[in-house]
Symmetry: C2
Subunit: 259 residues, 2 copies
């Protein structure tokens, strides 16, 4: 039950590589989706957003959907062309549900993530997402050096734009941290310390005494009762407060029984 | 360049285990989120949706946001309590960003996915998501036997409800298919077959002849020109149509040069 031992330390390292990844949205129709993308990026530790000819931006609906990620919208770059959006990047990955014969074989997000992260060592890396309805054009895909896909249900590949960004950014985060990103340890702290062995032993003695007084444990025929109870409480890894509660119950029972 | 060889076969097996996973949304405030959840589920091959006391359902906005996943909304079950929503399940996993000391140590989505899928062998398995603002209550988390979290950015864990469902369902799908789910092979077919060795050799010979005729390649001083060009075209894995285009160019050039 002692969960704190299994949770990461409170130090929360980021990953600089994630900050060198540029999310490029081409010809986005719905400003709400731009806000949802900003939120998706921030939950995974990405921050660079570039928009190619968005239909409406800046926009109130985008800000509303971004919730606490409006800083990403405020720093977003708006470009007139994909070429401008890819300026100063070392490589661009097109994210596409369709497998088009336009370049190297498309790879799944999980397969591509290590290369994306490795290339940030050379400069900014772009991930390019198309319009909500039409996706990326062939010309846009050809402007990129790689193609990435999300292995969705073949019968229904209709991922929402922000969902696609969410999944790609998630894979990048998972890969950046070798599958175990640091966790926000909003742990409700233990109300009490773990009990010492002495405290546990005194509890066992108290319990045994009460069971005998109650006539439940007959010392001449103990029936392995104590070993079984010890096993149970060992598994529970009792805390000090819990021992106090249990002994409080035992005390109350003892009094009622006339000790 | 031959991508078809690297893509999965057109047979598209589902995974019955994904169909035995029940997504439970507790006290959802925004009907649009219910629709977005249905869409997220369907993209990953899940279909069972149960709603506990949704604020508005059925609802037009939910249907609108579900896009092609309205079948999931139509088959969704609405319950008055979490207990009712968990009826007939063998185990329930609470999805929570907060680490609460309420049971077994929380595990990340990727860590938990194999157990979720394994338990579908015994019956339906529930994944429970809380209200958009408040998340799951402690009482709701305690009603579940496991806790799962998404390892989001510790500085900003504010995942949208549908995004959280999307990521969990994605991990389940990836795990169900050992990291390589079947892909929808909407491949634009090759316009032409890959060229044979003979065709490639005839092209090289033609190219060499034209370079000599043009005075660019001097047979007495070949300067490794042909090996370098061979290396380039070997990498390209030429198709028959491409060879025809290249030889067409060479033919035209030869004619102009007066052969």
């Amino acid at each position: 039950m002692n969960q704190t031992a299994t949770l990461p330390s409170p130090s929360l390292p980021g990953d600089n590589r994630l900050e060198k990844i540029r999310i490029v949205l081409s010809h986005t129709s719905h400003p709400g989706n731009i806000g949802a993308v900003a939120r998706a990026m921030k939950t995974m530790g990405l921050s660079r957003l570039t928009l190619v000819n968005p239909k409406c931006f800046p926009d109130d609906e985008a800000m509303r959907r971004a919730v606490g990620a409006d800083d990403i919208l405020q720093r977003a770059t708006v470009c007139r062309s994909l070429d401008a959006a890819l300026a100063d990047t070392v490589i661009a990955f097109a994210v596409s549900a369709r497998h088009r014969n336009l370049g190297p074989a498309p790879r799944s997000a999980r397969e591509a993530a290590p290369e994306v992260l490795a290339l940030t060592g050379s400069g900014e890396v772009a991930l390019v997402f198309g319009n909500e309805t039409a996706g990326l054009s062939n010309a846009e895909v050809q402007r990129c050096q790689r193609t990435v896909f999300i292995p969705a249900n073949p019968d229904y590949t209709s991922l929402n734009l922000a969902s696609a960004v969410q999944l790609i950014c998630y894979e990048l985060r998972m890969t950046a941290f070798d599958g175990s990103p640091p966790v926000f340890t909003k742990v409700i702290p233990f109300a009490s310390q773990r009990a010492t062995n002495d405290e546990v032993e005194r509890f066992h003695a108290h319990l045994e005494r009460v069971m005998i007084a109650a006539g439940f444990l007959v010392p001449q025929q103990p029936k392995r009762l104590m070993p079984k109870l010890r096993r149970l409480f060992a598994r529970a890894e009792l805390e000090r407060d819990e021992i106090n509660i249990l002994r409080g119950i035992l005390d109350a029972v003892e009094k009622r029984m006339g000790h």
